[in-house]
Symmetry: C2
Subunit: 257 residues, 2 copies
DNA sequence: GCACAACTCTGTACAACGTACGTAATTCAG
DNA sequence: CTGAATTACGTACGTTGTACAGAGTTGTGC
């Protein structure tokens, strides 16, 4: 994994690939594949392994029965392939029902994204870049804005509200998925892990519960309530309710004036 | 580009390193270094490069004037080194002032973390779960809980409120830093990138503004308001205000009952 | 029909990574 | 003084993205 992302960041090629508007070749051998084939194979690999690191040029090529270097015919590099994967996955998002009201619409959007992230956990392992402005990502933003249209917010506020809600989903889904991945790769549940960690911590005077009274009380209570050290699904729905309440306060202040 | 995972190894060794309680060696050559030296060098590298990928065993060793394999004397592996780096950085966090009230205290904590993430952007490149068990991470959680202690919330709610606020900081700071890194590595500002991307998008019928009326209107408005395609600092403070308002609604409902 | 340009596909190669392994050097307990 | 413990290091393996050069394939202009 060399950290250097090749590519001067040429928008033309990236956008053409995302929108599928590259002209078909006029000469040369018939391509064995399409860019979409490569993207689908990469998504399948990431899904199966529950890990974006499983998406290597060599493995995608192998899955497609083609030499590694051939992939560079369809995709400029690995970074751009990840961008394409993201927009591909965003195509699975759906529109909320009509005339739901902003609160129900935002809730539906948030739940939809929450589910998407759990279907494709690798989405949250990729830092999105500018070139991820494909058709499905565009449509996603448009739907999000439609949910808060005409409720008394200014344009800048609409953008911020949408960023706030989607950010909450990303943040809590990331916790959820990182945690699930950790349980899977370590082979230990939270309880099992704590069972091994607790005696070690107990030997350390500085880690005594007396030094961290709230942590030990609240941490224990939360752990027992959720049957785990953390419960991101609870934080997601709890947080969404708080955020929506907060947005309601803002709307009330706007429409009251 | 892709994420970086930290430790899932043996809890005992990991915890001993985090709390610095390993017994000094009784025989053998004097160690040239300490674990803290290694952690400091790694943090310096990550800070300087603004990238966790710069922290390679080989480079840390070079910085310390030591062979790569010697580092394994002080640290079980790269994953555990990342754990240690995180707790080390958490040591820079400060306590909010006394008797501020929950709202000011949570705001101070959020701003403190926002600043920390901007001082050490690599913190958000490492996926953290169970290993937040060092002394400074413990203290961080304790301070967060203290901010919402005694305001009428139950233990489980206190935990959720704290997770909500810190999640907001992480989410918006991540946007901010990913964006800054992108500008740096691509050498293009948002405006410059759009200047090159716009003509390409204009050639694509499906990408016409008529298909995305709200996106084009709101996106333009937000872009002009912030002088950039996105302004995570604004979303952070806007979002924090909404979240605090939402928490206030919850507190009111608790104390009213 | 033919030459050539355009295009696909592949093999080889390189630099970088984490780290397993074996070994030499150093220090202290007995 | 000997042996055990510990540090330090050189070598080596398997992995990664992808640059490069060349071979094979096809449509176009003549």
């Amino acid at each position: 994994m060399t950290g250097v992302t090749n590519g001067d960041g040429d928008p033309r090629r990236a956008i053409e690939l995302l929108w599928g508007v590259s002209a078909p070749p006029r000469r040369g051998p018939k391509p064995k594949l399409t860019t979409a084939d490569v993207v689908r194979a990469a998504v399948a690999l990431a899904d199966a392994a529950d890990d974006i690191e499983a998406v290597t040029i060599r493995r995608v090529a192998e899955q497609l029965g083609v030499s590694p270097m051939s992939l560079y015919t369809y995709v400029p590099g690995r970074a751009e392939l990840l961008d394409l994967m993201i927009d591909h996955a965003h195509g699975e998002l759906t529109a909320p029902g009509q005339d739901l009201g902003w609160r129900a619409a935002l809730t539906a959007i948030a739940e939809d994204q929450w589910a998407l992230f759990h279907r494709h956990p690798w989405l949250l392992q990729v830092t999105t870049s500018r070139s991820a402005l494909g058709p499905h990502s565009f449509a996603k933003y448009e739907r999000e804005l439609r949910a808060v249209e005409g409720i008394g917010l200014g344009d800048v506020e609409m953008d911020a509200v949408v960023a706030l809600v989607t950010g909450l989903v990303r943040s809590t889904a990331r916790s959820s998925l990182d945690h699930a991945r950790l349980v899977r790769t370590s082979g230990m549940t939270d309880a099992q892990w704590w069972q091994r960690a607790a005696p070690v911590l107990a030997e350390i005077p500085a880690a005594d519960a007396a030094h961290y009274p709230l942590s030990s009380r609240v941490g224990t209570a939360a752990g027992e309530a959720h049957n785990a050290a953390e419960d991101p699904a609870f934080v997601f729905r709890f947080g969404l309710a708080r955020v929506l309440d907060g947005i309601e306060v803002l709307i009330a202040s706007r429409t009251a004036g």
